[in-house]
Each structure stands twice: as C-alpha cells, then as structure tokens.
C-alpha cells in the first residue's frame, strides 16, 4: 500500500435528556477547557459565549403534572450541507473529512457573523469583548487552546485540543489510531450524570453509535436536513417533540 490511509471517523454525541439535571457542569467544564473568559459585565444571554448552553424546557402543564427537561445545545456538527460552511466568505469554517468535526478557525474569521445568521441552532457566538480574566487567573488557562480575540466567532469543536493531544500520545506510543477512550470532550467527561456519550458514530462497536440508533434517539430540527451529529435521547414524547420543533421556541415560549 503506497499511500497511508487514515481511519475515517464521524465523531458525534448522544445526550440522554432523561438523565440531564441541568447542573451546568458541562458549561463550566467547557469554559475551563476552551479558555472561554468569564462574562463581561455587560454580557447577556445573547452576547455571552456559551459554546455549550443548557436550555430549560417545560411540558406546559400546571401543578403536579408540570415537568421540566434540560437540553444541552452545542454546535450540532451538521454533516449535510453544513450551513455555516457554505456562507463563510473567509473559508474560516470547514468540515474535517477524517473526523466529521466542523472546525472554526478564528485566525481566518473576519467577524461578519454570516455563519451565526445561518446556524439554525444558534450555537455560534461572537466575541464582543476581548477575553479578560481576573489578574493572575490567566495562569490557569489551558495551554492547548489559544484565547480568541474580540471580533471573531467561535463555537464547540469537540475540544479539538484534546483530539490533537490524543493523536500525539498515540503517535508517541507508535500507534496510527488514537485510543477512543483517550479522546473525550470536556463536557462528556464532566457530566456527573453520565448523560453525554461521545464516540465515533460510524464505528458500530461504540456506545455512541449504538445509542444513536436507538428508538428513543432524535435530532434537533430534523426537518432542515442538516444531518447533525449530536443525537438526543428521551423516553418522554413531549421532550422529543420539543427537540424536533426547536428547543428555543419551546424554551422561550
């Protein structure tokens, strides 16, 4: 074989909404891992940066029948006609064919925010302010990720720094492929309820692939045909309906 063939993966997540308690550990772990700064004094839900954001939805009933669910929403890693890729004038967004991960390259981004307008999941965030941490807290930044500057868009990239680190460890051990257990995004690792399962959706042996094919799995806004690689699970029909209609429409009433 003259040419080295690399394994093609299609990384994705399956999130069990019946286990998620909305504790927010995924959001904090993501911010720590990806050097997302604390909120600027003026930041709001629209202008803040939450690459994974937990939305709260309700079944709309009153009294003891009232129930809530929490939906962690991150970049859905669209696999079909990825909307943000097609609109970016800078080629600052691209889908890595070897992993299926949709990458955002802040160095190329000119901050036009077309991608934010195109993203049907509102999973992209604009840096309205320069990143700032309290004095000396900068020492706690993750060396694997560069802080982004004001004026660029960012989003979840499945903790790409961790993928690089896993590849480096595999290479150092003389392996061509990474150990799947060695690469977990921070949110999946941090979820205390074990609600987030990450893995290669094309590899039938992974738990993520099995769960994604389960009868209770669904994706957000399937009518758009964007082929997200984030799957959700719930046995509650109203939660499935909310996800398929649009979590934000439900969360925002």
């Amino acid at each position: 074989m003259g040419k080295r063939e690399q394994k093609q993966s299609r990384y994705g997540m399956v999130i069990d909404l019946d286990r998620c308690t909305g504790c927010g550990a995924c959001m904090v772990a993501c911010a720590v891992e990806n050097n997302v700064p604390p909120a600027n004094r003026e930041a709001t839900g629209r202008t803040g940066i939450t690459p994974v954001r937990v939305f709260q939805i309700s079944n709309g009933l009153e009294g003891s029948d009232s129930r809530q669910a929490f939906i962690p929403v991150m970049c859905q890693q669209c696999g079909v006609d990825t909307p943000c890729v097609s609109v970016c004038p800078q080629q600052a967004v691209e889908v890595d064919p070897s992993t299926g991960i949709v990458h955002q390259m802040p160095q190329r981004c000119l901050g036009c925010r077309y991608c934010m307008a195109a993203c049907p999941y509102h999973a992209r965030y604009f840096n309205w302010w320069d990143p700032a941490w309290p004095a000396a807290m900068e020492k706690t930044l993750n060396p694997a990720v560069s802080p982004r500057m004001r004026g660029v868009v960012e989003k979840c990239n499945f903790c790409h720094g961790r993928l690089h680190a896993a590849r480096a460890r595999a290479a150092a051990a003389g392996h061509r492929e990474i150990d799947p257990a060695d690469y977990q995004p921070a949110c999946a690792e941090a979820c205390p309820a074990g609600a987030i399962v990450f893995g290669d959706l094309d590899d039938d042996s992974t738990e993520a692939a099995k769960l994604a094919r389960g009868g209770d799995a669904f994706r957000l806004l399937p009518r758009l045909g964007t082929g997200p690689k984030i799957y959700y699970r719930s046995k509650r029909p109203w939660v499935q309906r909310a996800g398929e209609q649009g979590h934000q429409e439900v969360a925002n009433g």
């Binding site: 286990r19 308690t21 909305g22 504790c23 927010g24 550990a25 959001m27 904090v28 772990a29 911010a31 720590v32 891992e33 050097n35 997302v36 604390p38 909120a39 930041a43 709001t44 839900g45 803040g48 940066i49 939450t50 954001r53 937990v54 709260q56 309700s58 009294g63 003891s64 009232s66 129930r67 809530q68 669910a69 802040p106 160095q107 190329r108 320069d130 990143p131 941490w133 309290p134 004095a135 000396a136 807290m137 900068e138 020492k139 706690t140 930044l141 993750n142 060396p143 990720v145 560069s146 802080p147 982004r148 500057m149 660029v152 921070a186 941090a190 979820c191 205390p192 309820a193 074990g194």
Partner: protein
C-alpha cells in the same frame, strides 16, 4: 526612458495580476490575521510540562476525588477521579472551577481590621487583647467539624477561660441524625446504600441538585424511583418521577398520614413493632392522621396519599429523606422525626438498599451557648451571620479566619483556599462506609495568608503544632488495620495491612488515594423510640447552594447565572 500614461497603467495592471500569482498577498493576509489576533493584551497560557496530580475537593463535605491537569505545578483544569468509590469521577460546577479560587478578585490577602489592612502582629495582639478583656464567652466556631483542624480548634477553646467550641449542625444529614437519636444504644454512624436503592421518598431535599455526593446520586439516578414532596416546583421536583406539591409546613402531617395507611393495612415491618418502645403511642398518633384529615391540611388528595403509601410498602425498602434544602428554610424538627420514623416503619434501617450502619463512632454533639452570650467569636471560615448572630453579645468581636471579606467582622485573617493546604477529608454524611483521604497541596499560598490553626497557635503558643492533629488522625486510621486504599491513578486496591507505617499511608493518600473501610455486615437493630431524644437535628437557617456558606465561586460560573440564565446569581 520615457514612460507615458499608457505604460504606467500597463505596468500597474501587470503588477496587480502578477502579484496574485505570488504568495505575497496570501502571506500578508495570513500574517495580518495572526497579528491582529495576538495582541499583547490577549492572555498567553503558561507553557510547560503537562502533568497529572490527584487530590480531593474540600469545597463542600462531599469530598470528591479530583484529577488535576497541571502545567508544571500550576493546575489548569480539574476533573473527577474516576476511581473514587463515592464521587465516581464527577465534580459539581463549583468544583470544576475550584482551581480559580486562589485568584478570585474578592480574596483577602492580608489581615484586615474593620476594612483596613493591618500587619499580622497587630491582628494577633488585637485578638489576644479582646479575649483577655472579654467578660462573657469566647467561642471558637468550627464550620467544618470532624477534621484534624477541628481538634486544634477544640483544644484552643478548651484552653481558654470561658472558652467554648461550637460546631453548628451541618446543612445535610438531618434525617440520619434524627434516626441516630431514636436508638437506645449507638447504632454506628448511619449511611446510605444508594447503589442498591430502589425508591427514595424525599421531602424538600434537593436530591438531584447537589445533595449528598452529587456524582454518586446522579450516576444511580436510573436505578431508583424518586417521589418528591415539596411545596415549590424545584429542579428536583420537576425531574422527579412523582411530585407531590404539598402546602408548606405540613410535611409532618403527610408523613404521619403515610404511617396511618401503613399501620392500618398492616404493612409495617414486623421487627419494627417488636423493637419500638413507644409503638402503641406512635400507632395512636398515626391513627389520628387519616388520609382525609391529612389531605385537608397538606392539599394532596386522599387517594394519592393511600396510593403513595401502598407503593412505598410494595417497593420495600424505600428510603425516606427529610434533609430540606440547604439553601432554603429548614424543615421543622417534627417533620424530620416523622419522616425518619417512616424508615423504621418500612424496615429500611440496617438493610441493603436503604440505610446502613458504618463502622465507626458517632461524633459527640458539641455544646451550645445561650443567645447573646458570646463576647469574642472566632470563626474558622466566614461567619454565618444569619444563623449565628443571635449568639453574639452587644459589641461582640467577630474574628473571621477566612479568605473572603466580611464587612461586619472586626478582623478578617486571610486563610488558605482550596488546593493551598493539606487537609484531611472525612466520609460525607451519605457514605456507605467510612472513608478517609487527604487533599493535597497543589498551590503555594500567597505571602500574608495564614492557616487558621497557625493563627490560633500565634495567640496561644501552648497549642502545639497543628500538623500533629493530622498525624494523629492518620495514625488512628492506620491502627484500624481494616479496609483498603484505592488509588486514583489506576483504581488499584491495596489492603491497609499492606502499608508499613502511617507515613507510608500518608504518602499514598497524598499521591491520590482514598482509604475505604470494610462494610458492616448485617447488624441487629437496637430498640428505639419514635419520639427520639429531643436533640435538635436541623440547622437553624439555610447555608447556601450545595450547603456551603460564604464561598466565592469562580467568575467562570457566570456562564450559568449571567450568560445562560440556567441558575440565578444567589445559587452561584
């Protein structure tokens, strides 16, 4: 050479076309993009060798195992240690950003008197004079009792004339405390066998929102049926399998209403009737709480009460918990005792899948003092004004040995924060077995910071070295010769017998490990009295989210309360 207008445009046009075929514009674009995004004001992460270190979280009493990724010696992220038998690889949002504590902008870094920085010597002299001048009590308030440092605090208080050691009731574990108070003979410290639990009946307890050891509870969530009795549509209520919205203050009525059905339909655990010294009186009390009378009080339909009681009896052994919300008003003592009694009625105490005794000794209840009697209050932590202010005399001096400011305290003596000192971590209240681990020191405390025990030793030199108390705790664990030590690095388990000395054990625990005692085999239940011994079991007022008082959380938690609205600012 003559250059006319035509030549100039030809040259300029040709150059423009030619330039496109050179790397110059693309390199310039690339460089300018990099340059514009790497301004000197953009923080640069540290560079260095990536290492993994282990510790235990001391931000609350759960004591979760921690795996820290460090650049050199600087922790840059924290995650749960998967091998920890209780926390099982989970940390709460506060713990995940716990390494930010040391750099929190609110942190106090030098002794402060009434908001004005003072030298340490002046603070020592001032506190010593206040103690000498006091005519009333001098109290040492320990907000985190049961640790090695607590022994030093107790000794300090005992050495003083009119000194008293105070330890307020912890925010969680009221139900287990009430049960312990019901037994005629000590029945070990009680814990919960959540790993085998099938049903939990919770009264206003945030079971799914940080109660107990969160990782342990949430990992088991799929295995137990949760019935939440709570007036408010809390997070736990909205996620429970069944939510019974009850009128506030009627929890005891509902508990006795359930007891009514259980006794009337003869669903009582046979051993309960034999061992209860006041069973007939309890039956009479329960008989008065018919479903109809309870329904009119608590607002839950009689049929629902009957259905719930039958369901619980059928799902034996259920666990009934009435710890209340650590952040909210505590439940009444009657409610806690009534709910704790349900566990005895169902036979849920001393059996697998419910409430189990641990090998160990019950901590003695610390003394209380009269309201308005304390002249000098020295607090290991931030003083909980809402709970304890009534104990203070007029013009009392409050000395807060804490890292966080307190505008009302006379002195604030800056203490080390999480990861800045070696501390022992005892078992959380819900643990199945006794455990013991050490929080390693991963950060050097800044100059000017002094550990509370060291500050007390400056005031009272005869206290001795504070490190001796920790050595004594380690020696006591080592002497048990029971249980095993589980390493966080690889999950391996080594019997305690395998350690040559207490120092060996210390080294292993500091490298990242936890000692886990053996499980107690089935033990006969002593006789008990439903009415208990009258000792209070509930804290006087709420502590705050996760049952932690006076903690300043990482600014990164603004993701939860400012940028997403997932929680409100008070919770964070």
């Amino acid at each position: 050479m003559h250059i006319d207008r035509r030549d100039f445009f030809k040259f300029a046009g040709g150059s423009a076309v030619g330039l496109v075929f050179t790397p110059v514009p693309w390199t310039l674009l690339n460089d300018s993009a990099k340059w514009s995004q790497n301004g000197s004001w953009i923080p640069r992460p540290l560079d260095g060798e990536i290492r993994t270190q282990f510790s235990n979280c001391t931000l609350c009493r759960a004591g979760c195992g921690v795996r820290a990724r460090c650049v050199g010696n600087q922790p840059v992220s924290l995650a749960g240690a998967a091998a920890h038998p209780s926390s099982r690889g989970a940390l709460c949002p506060i713990g995940l950003a716990g390494h930010h504590q040391a750099y929190h902008p609110r942190r106090v870094l030098q002794p402060v008197r009434r908001g004005r920085p003072v030298p340490l010597e002046e603070a020592v002299t001032g506190v010593r004079s206040a103690i000498a001048a006091s005519k009333g009590r001098v109290a040492l308030l320990d907000l985190d009792p049961g640790r090695a440092a607590s022994a030093v605090y107790r000794r300090f208080a005992e050495n003083l004339r009119k000194g008293v050691y105070l330890a307020p009731l912890p925010p969680e574990g009221a139900t287990l405390r009430a049960l312990a108070n019901m037994f005629e003979k000590p029945f070990g410290p009680l814990g919960l066998d959540l790993e085998n639990a099938r049903t939990i009946l919770s009264f206003s307890t945030p079971i799914l929102d940080g109660w107990g050891t969160p990782g342990r509870v949430l990992k088991q969530r799929g295995n137990f049926h949760l019935i939440q009795v709570e007036p408010a549509a809390s997070r736990t209520a909205s996620l429970a399998d069944v939510w019974l919205p009850i009128r506030p203050g009627t929890e005891a009525d509902l508990a006795l209403g359930l007891a009514h059905i259980i006794t009337r339909e003869n669903l009582v655990d046979p051993a309960c009737a034999r061992r209860a010294t006041d069973f007939s009186a309890y039956q009479e009390l329960a008989a008065r709480h018919t479903p109809e009378s309870v329904a009119s009080a608590c607002g839950i339909a009689p049929a629902k009460i009957v259905e719930t009681a039958r369901y619980l009896a059928q799902r034996n052994p259920p666990i009934a918990i009435a710890d209340g919300d650590p952040a909210g008003p505590p439940l009444s003592e009657e409610a806690v005792y009534a709910v704790a009694g349900l566990n005895l009625l169902f036979g849920s105490v001393g059996c697998t899948g419910a409430i189990v005794p641990r090998a160990g000794q019950l901590a003695a209840a610390p003394p209380d003092v009269e309201d308005g009697s304390v002249d000098v209050m020295i607090v290991a932590g931030a003083f909980p004004w809402r709970q304890m202010e009534r104990k203070l005399a007029r013009k009392a001096v409050v000395v807060s040995l804490s890292a966080w400011p307190d505008a009302r305290a006379e002195y604030v003596i800056p203490a080390p924060v999480y990861l800045e000192s070696v501390e022992d971590v005892p078992a959380p209240f819900d643990a199945r077995t006794e455990t013991f681990s050490l929080a390693a020191q991963l950060l050097q405390p800044p100059a000017g910071v002094i550990a509370p025990a060291d500050f007390l030793a400056r005031i009272e030199p005869s206290l001795g070295r504070p490190g001796d108390a920790l050595a004594a705790r380690l020696a006591a664990v080592y002497k048990t010769r029971r249980g095993s030590v589980i390493s966080y690095k690889d999950g391996s388990s080594t019997p305690l017998d395998g350690f040559k000395s207490a120092e060996d054990l210390r080294q292993a625990l500091l490298a990242g490990a936890v000692w886990v005692d053996r499980q107690v085999s089935e033990a006969p239940l002593p006789r008990f009295c439903f009415a208990g011994n009258g000792r209070p079991v509930s804290p006087a007022a709420g502590y705050g989210w996760r049952g932690v008082h006076g903690l300043s959380v990482s600014p990164v938690l603004s993701k939860l309360y400012q940028e997403s609205g997932l929680r409100n600012a008070q919770e964070a």
